[in-house]
């Protein structure tokens, strides 16, 4: 195993890296992507409860529509849209385009502003 032969440095070095828009938006992609597991757990529990019994659904639905559920779902919608836009940005980068600092920063702002706009739109539509 290559791993046992030599220890490679881990990435990225958050401690010595100066925060910039590009790094912040990149880290946010990771946080939103992994954080979405919380909303997913809540939704899966709600679906399972609906499938099982009226009593189970009542409990799950109460949590989901409480202020706590509202908070988690609203944050999840924002996280979903942010991760969505940031993912599209990665797909674009993978074509070898948009990697100049100026363009990357513009795309970063597009992710931040776009995710907020899409979240508000989602709340209005639903």
């Amino acid at each position: 195993m290559a791993e046992t032969k030599r220890a490679r440095p881990l990435s990225p070095h958050i401690q010595i890296y100066r925060p910039q828009l590009t790094s912040t938006t990149s880290i946010l992609t990771r946080i939103t992507g992994n954080g979405l597991i919380i909303g997913t757990m809540l939704v899966v529990w709600w679906l399972l409860a609906a499938a099982l019994s009226p009593e189970a659904f009542e409990t799950a639905d109460w949590v989901l529509t409480s202020w706590f559920g509202d908070l988690v779902l609203t944050l999840s919608v924002w996280a979903l849209w942010y991760h969505y836009l940031a993912g599209l940005r990665h797909l674009y980068w993978d074509t070898g385009n948009g990697l100049e600092i100026e363009t990357a920063e513009k795309l970063g702002w597009a992710c931040i502003i776009g995710s907020v706009v899409l979240t508000i739109l989602t709340i209005i539509v639903i």
Binding site: T65, V77, G87, D94
Partner: protein
Amino acid sequence: MRYITARKRAEGMGAAHHGTDRHWYMMVSAVGLAVLIPVFIYIFGTAVGQGRDAVLEIFSHPFNAILSGLVLFFGMRHFAEGSTVMIEDYWQGVTRRLLVICAQSFAYGLCAIGLFALAKIAL
């Protein structure tokens, strides 16, 4: 002077010690989810807040059931592979392996529970 190809020298030197197959899987599932997610947000958004009967009716519709199943399955695969990438960036050795096993098992477990619920509602 070592007679070794450039490829051989580079192999296993990345943070994850292997190739780009995981990255490629993330790209494929990302494109799939990019199509599915907006539709799922709409379906879930119309269902949430309604009574149990309405929720059951919405998710027993074949289109909604199949789409939700796809979102859950590929969403959880995307999560499992994505969180594995993250774990490989920050941890090494036994900790890395244990965390990867946890993340993968959790994703499969949650996916199984959700698919069971969707099947029970739809069939």
